[in-house]
Symmetry: C2
Subunit: 363 residues, 2 copies
């Protein structure tokens, strides 16, 4: 029996979901406050714009901007008294609180958060493979039925995502720590570059580039996200302010007692960096597996089309699997550095093979 999914909101996420579900043989209907957006989503193969006489949907997906999600979920639960309703907002507690407060039937509500997005937004950026290989968090309400949870999990799997079940509070605390707070940190570190001279900012290395890459994110979207997850983000940020104050105090002690013991200030700094080592080691490695300490092999790559491909071809020929790759660009030089990460046991084999093919390995 074909499942009928009604998608409300045909922006990037809603339209991409419609395309993916249609391909997966779901019957998809569409609605958007902009008739143009809904019609365009239909043209892209995301489903059919919903007819007023259409039968009630089995599942409703609310894929609107986060600041209106809760109200639209509540209206959908009321309008279709047998439908399962889900939403894709990136913060789950805020939606659930509104539904519980206004007495919605949350046995049929199951929140979701597909961990997917792209630089561009809107229906024209939609792609049917947006969710492939991504996490699809499913956050049931306290009284969601097993059938409702199963229906929402099936949607995540149907579009190629990996389903992860978390309650709303755990989800929101997790994304605060792994996404929202890193965004704030990157933005504040990048903001400190404004006062530097060009020469000074020219000393930037790969470390700064990595730390601040996401500082290029959209202020309007991030204001909505941070506001919706204010309590969880606040909890993590206040811990970071405490840690920062400890570091500043240690630096003050060192400034007051240069070269002296400075009341154990060095131990405070060492502990802060060591705690970061421990936290960083918890981030899962490739494909969500355990964190593995790969070893780098760094190669000088001339800045000409095809050179990087030739290098990676030679890596493949060496019988070594490339686990990760970073590119770094030299200051004022006509080449870059490719940092190839491999399992420690493969370093010798790869080094010999690449040097044998004339590559210059670099420190």
């Amino acid at each position: 029996m074909t499942t009928h999914v009604h998608v409300i909101g045909t922006g990037l996420i809603g339209a991409s979901l419609g395309i993916a579900l249609t391909r997966a043989a779901y019957a998809v209907s569409l609605a958007d406050q902009s008739p143009t957006s809904a019609a365009l989503a239909q043209d892209l193969g995301a489903g059919l714009v919903r007819d007023l006489a259409a039968p009630a949907p089995d599942v409703v997906v609310v894929a609107t901007p986060p600041d209106v999600t809760a109200g639209i979920v509540a209206a959908a639960l009321a309008q279709w008294p047998t439908a399962v309703v889900t939403d894709v907002a990136s913060v789950k507690g805020a939606v659930l609180t509104v539904l519980l407060d206004n007495g919605s039937d949350t046995t049929r509500y199951v929140g979701a958060h597909p961990m997917a997005g792209r630089e561009r937004s809107g229906v024209v950026a939609a792609r049917g493979d947006l969710f492939e290989g991504r996490a699809w968090v499913v956050a049931p309400a306290p009284d969601s039925t097993a059938a409702a949870v199963a229906a929402v999990e099936a949607i995540g799997r149907a579009v190629g995502a990996t389903v992860v079940r978390l309650d709303a509070r755990t989800h929101d605390a997790a994304v605060a720590a792994v996404s929202h707070v890193p965004q704030v940190a990157a933005s504040l570190v990048a903001a400190r570059l404004e006062g530097l001279s060009d020469q000074a900012v020219g000393l930037a290395g790969q470390g700064l580039r990595d730390v601040t890459r996401i500082a290029a994110s959209d202020p309007h979207l991030w204001t909505q996200i941070l506001a919706a997850n204010a309590p969880a983000v606040r909890d993590v940020l206040t811990r970071i302010v405490e840690d920062l104050n400890d570091v500043v105090q240690a630096l003050d002690a060192l400034i007051a007692d240069p070269g002296g013991p400075a009341g154990g200030a060095r131990a405070v700094l060492a502990r802060a960096i060591a705690a970061g080592n421990a936290g960083q080691a918890r981030i899962p490695g490739k494909h969500g597996g355990a964190h593995t300490a790969y070893e780098p092999v760094v190669v000088l790559v001339p800045d000409r089309p095809g050179e990087l491909a030739r290098l990676l071809h030679d890596v493949g020929d060496a019988g070594v699997n490339l686990e990760d790759l970073h590119l770094e660009h030299g200051l004022g030089q006509p080449f870059g550095l490719a940092e190839i990460l491999v399992v420690p046991g493969a370093v010798g084999q790869l080094t010999t093979a690449l040097e044998g093919r004339g590559w210059r390995l670099h420190a």
Copy 2:
């Protein structure tokens, strides 16, 4: 006439410098408090262990751990009254202050900071190409002679680096903002992951990986660096604490007035993210050129040896120059995503070419 450079300290930087200068036809002598390390550096081609009867060097390079650098520079200036003395410590003001305080002849002192390093330390990790394409900051004392500055700049150029002249205070403020504070931020953000469940930390995406990559750095080394640059690091960190407190206050206002105007709290959040946009845009692009907004083309790459090479080969065949590359790994999926960054005008051409060769492009 051959210039005679005496390198004190044959760790990674000193031994690498010896190898590079020997290749550049300098006469290099070596000293280290560990006779084994000095002998090993000699075996690696870094120069000859210094004979007591040897003539005075023209230039002395102090490449010891930062916490003993100033004392050894002062002793070298006193021992060889005609030699130019430089050092490679990553913080310049602390060394200069000691020299000025103890009345050293700073007309012959010129500080330096090669912006190079690698994951491993010690003489066995030394490489003659460690400095190629890197910045080599030269920080003269207020009364350094032009000849002394020229001698130290010549060494940087001889080893393939790009010389950047900055006074010690400007250098230290710059590295505080572009290197030392990003390190602290990455460590403190990573430290907040410790309390999360495996499932929660499993939601980590590329943003978190980027922000926290350098959180894996060595606590012992970073304690020395942060302590040596305490005043400049403190200045930047206190500004970040102020900005963080503004963000926390805005979140508090939103918690107290959920969905309401919250006294302009959203504008505070939007300004913080927008300031990060502006700062991030100041980081120079590839090869030190102006920052360019490259556009991403994202491709699904099966996790088999050789697939990435085949992809990059096809990119080269498309006549498109790859400007940067990021790899991302799907959660629990047997493939990764390759984000290829190209100039905006090349996106259409590349997309068509890759789709024509059967690659699956991804949002």
